[in-house]
Amino acid sequence: MAFVAADPTRPAGPIRRLLRRKLAVLGLVVIALVVGGALAAPYIVAHAPDEQMFDGLTLEGAPMAPSSVYLFGTDLLGRDLFSRILYGARTSLIIGVVANGLSLLIGTIVGLLAGYFKGWIGAALMRFTDLMMAFPALLLAICLAAIFQPSLWIVALVIALVNWVQTARVIYTETSSLATRDFIAAERTLGAGTGRILIHHILPHLLPTIIVWGTLGISTTVLLEATLSFLGVGVQPPTPSWGNIIFENQTYFQSAPWLVFIPGAAIILLALAFNLVGDALRDVLDPTQRGRG
């Protein structure tokens, strides 16, 4: 899905090839802005994200519309929405990186072991993966979130427990085909240990896939966190998350639409950015990979 055809006469490194794609660059810029905003939040905002200001509500208790004082308006507790959105970016990014890293780790280990050991270990692992595939993911996540009293880290763990399956399937397929290749057989006859083969010979070949899935997975993770928080079983207040901002304010979506659609736009923008970069990476690193993420 190349939008800018690569110049075949000049071989270039993957990063250069990535930077030649306009959409990927756009995605990288958005990610950079969100990361920058999240990190610099304390220096940008005028009000702390959990400060409930007396003049942040009308006397009847209604929120304030966006204005020069409150750039994005205030929420139902009289807090500055701009500040909550910036700090909420921290939540999304932390969940994105931690939950996705964890699910990538689980998925890679399961896929690698199942793909390399064809015997009962592989069969057992893949049947378990099939089982997880048959779970309605959202229902499972809600049940898990209810069992552990939710905190930022528990939400990350729950998402990882639900999300590793796709990665495992992809890594499994790749490992299975790699394991039958001649150079692996050669290593084995040369007496290389299993651990050495897995880490030094198979894993490096999987790296492009892991990078692509890692990037696309952040987008899925951000969306799942937002959905869980939207249902009230995600990140706990007063820690702002884009999903729980919408959860807290959703009944006001007609009278105070900014409270729902500004965080909504933020979620879409960040998920889109990671999807754009991930897709470009897939083309750049491994043009044979196609399919649903």
Binding site: E60, G61, G232, P237, E248
Partner: protein
Amino acid sequence: MKKLLASTALVLALSVPALAQDYTPDPAAKQGGEITVTYHDDVATLDPAIGYDWQNWSMIKSLFDGLMDYVPGTTTLRPGLAESYDVSKDGMTFTFHLRAGVKFTNGRAMTADDVKYSLDRVTLPATQSPGAGFFSSIKGYDKMADGSATNLEGVKVVDPLTVEITLNRPDATFLQVMALNFSYIVAKEAVEASGADFGKHPVGTGAFKLTDWTLGQQLVFERNADYWRAGEPYLDKITFQVGQEPVVALLRLQKGEIDIAGDGIPPAKFTEVMADPAQKALVVSQASLQTGYITMNLNVAPFDKLEVREAINMAINKDRITQIINGRATPTGQVLPPGMPGYDPDFKGFAYDPAAAKALLAKAGFADGFETQLFVYNTDPNPRIAQAIQQDLANIGVKAAIQSLAQANVIQAGGEPTSAPMIWSGGMAWAADFPDPSDFFGPILSCQAADPGGWNWAHYCNKDLDAAATAADAMTDPAQTADRMKAWSAIMGKVMADAPWVPVFNETRYTMHSPRLGGASALYADPVATPVNFDYIYVKP
């Protein structure tokens, strides 16, 4: 499970009901017309022994009757299926004289055997009635509960129109219990025919009968032409639509598609509705018999220290919390809501004073505050209120982490001895089952309720007050009513001296109806038949 029973001027009707005031029919009321009512949650069951929800409470009242009843729109007892009753001198035996000629909607005449059957059924463990405990003062209840008897020893059929009920202890609230849904009379053969599905195929003696139920979508009630109260009810047909979001329901009400939004006016639409005089005229408001409070678990340090509990009481800005919910409540400082007998209008409680709270906390040895947890039910506006409480606590140095969970999880944590240090009661707050102060003590502040699994989430246990409560409830003579209420005011005053709660506010209920509906405002804010008394409202001709 919210039942809000409100009262303005309650006279405990322990006198012979023939003397009690009854309802004066609305001269403008005409029979006829159909209305549509919406709710968000599905209707769970219409079995009077089991139904205990916001929406099925008044539906069951329209389908069934009890021995006792309330004057519509009030909390005054009046006779129901019992025309009259006698009480023995010691207050331990009640003899109910049933009305002749009352028929179930299946055509059969109701008799004393049905009363006995219904009371046996509700106390039988197999029925799984959440209200079985209300009947614990009837002789033989204990044997029913432990499974060693299959019928209540204290309930006797004297003749087809006379039932005698013997108690095991004097109980000033017994007649209220006989007006509670759980005591309503069911037709034995219908229960046996439907088995566990009786709640889907109810047969009672009520003003309406169920004619259609499409699960998850709608229920249709039609007028019972043989209803024993002549000329009642007024409506021909009521359609209850379920699964409707409160915001959506209100929009439909504004467009004239429905007549009553059963879940009330959602906060997001409240300011808009109240700003428009035409719409405001259709809104009925009523202070409910409910208190919203924060519990502090006495089993968990540092809430074992009285100074700490007092300091927390002074730290909460109740006016701000009321503002957050659009002023739909009145801040309070005591356990009982206004309108409940025993409420003490002169009792002020702790005033908002963060500086004094901080000083008190320092005196208790927590100058730098402490860390704790605040549990809250995760539906709007409760997480918001919890965050306002959290900010107030932070002002005196107390760092409270919020645990916003499903209702079942909060109730579970609250019932365990040390799981939940603090709970904001919103959404699960105590609302009276019947208008009597004892219902605000036994289940939520007594030593028994502090046992694991109980609803005394502060785990507050004061044996002296338990004894005082038992003594107050033994005052069954109607002449003692005033003394009894004084005793209850004193008990509640002593509770607040120990400060296991921060009473925050008493909610006001707002119901809106379509302009074509008629009937006194009190019917749309009925304290007993919540949210609306369907038997007495009518469509304007």
